[in-house]
Symmetry: C2
Subunit: 181 residues, 2 copies
DNA sequence: GTCTATAGTGGGATAGAC
DNA sequence: GTCTATCCCACTATAGAC
């Protein structure tokens, strides 16, 4: 074992989550069924229940990975040169745009935190607090990021909307309430 | 007929949508099935299909009403005295908070606009443009409003989050890019 | 750890009689 | 416009043999 990260799952579990990830990313949430997942693995659906108690736990594993993905991207964003606010926004938009199905899985509806790696949700969101004086401002910024991302994914803006400019307008607004101003 | 608004649906269709509305508001989306809807009306599920071609059209009728509700609330908000931005935000938050199931139905996933009253979506959103110089800023503001509303409905903010203050922080940010500044 | 077989649930929708 | 009867679909999950 050369990794310092403990193996929380068996190799087989890892493999199943890998395939589930690919299925979600390429074909969306509707394609992520236990039958389809088993098909992709070359086994029958009931066999999956020897490795996971139910579907929700498989989805939670995907959401967990999603938080890792976003948390790492956010940390890279504030480590970069340039405006941290703009870097964070670009990173958020990129993650959401490049993984729309994962992003919807992560943000749609209630979240059973008992199924996630403890603390991963807060860890992933922590970098958003960096540019601001208080967590309230950071949460307002998160609201803006999420709203823009999900409305874009769901096709709610008019077809001719210039979204780059809207992101810039929002950034200009929140720049006015950062710790540096 | 003493109303100047044309009757787009039969009385029976109106009644069905009324019951669907109540069912959605009181018990949520999972309760809104064709079987359950029929039960509430005292008829059998197949009979519904004499009035509506499918479930999606029933849901579209609810979404239509939702846009009317929000559009009217938004118009009242900007007609009031005080800061239009704050009034709009308060109205938005109130509608979303008081009708969480309807709000999710309206905003979750893609929207088939062919099933809606033509123009109602744009009409309902138009007041958001009032305080701003350009539509891009208005859309950024909408992103903030929607993000805050849906994250709150879905329980995504920490339990101890002071959301009133976050709404205020966002308002302060967007105040900096209104037409009056 | 995998299989076959099956249970159980719930939903949308249609055909045809009355 | 309503009914009965039915179909079809999809899914999660379990039991027990190998």
């Amino acid at each position: 074992m050369d990794s310092s990260v403990p193996e929380l799952r068996s190799a087989r579990q890892q493999q199943i989550v890998d395939v589930a990830w690919r299925l979600l990313e390429t074909e969306g949430r509707d394609a992520l069924t236990m039958r389809r997942l088993a098909d992709e693995l070359g086994i029958k659906a009931p066999s999956l229940y020897k490795h996971f108690p139910n579907k929700q736990v498989v989805e939670a594993a995907l959401i967990d990975r999603g938080f890792l993905l976003w948390g790492n991207a956010a940390r890279e964003a504030i480590a970069h040169s340039g405006d941290p606010l703009a870097n964070l926004a670009r990173a958020y938009r990129t993650v959401a745009t490049e993984h729309p199905h994962l992003y919807r899985l992560m943000t749609d509806g209630a979240l059973d935190r008992a199924l996630l790696t403890p603390g991963v949700e807060a860890w992933s969101g922590a970098p958003l607090g960096e540019p601001f004086r208080d967590p309230e401002a950071a949460r307002a910024f998160w609201g803006f990021l999420h709203g823009m991302a999900i409305l874009a994914i769901d096709g709610r803006f008019p077809p001719d909307a210039e979204l780059d400019r809207s992101w810039d307008r929002g950034l200009a607004a929140f720049s006015a309430i950062t710790a540096n101003t």
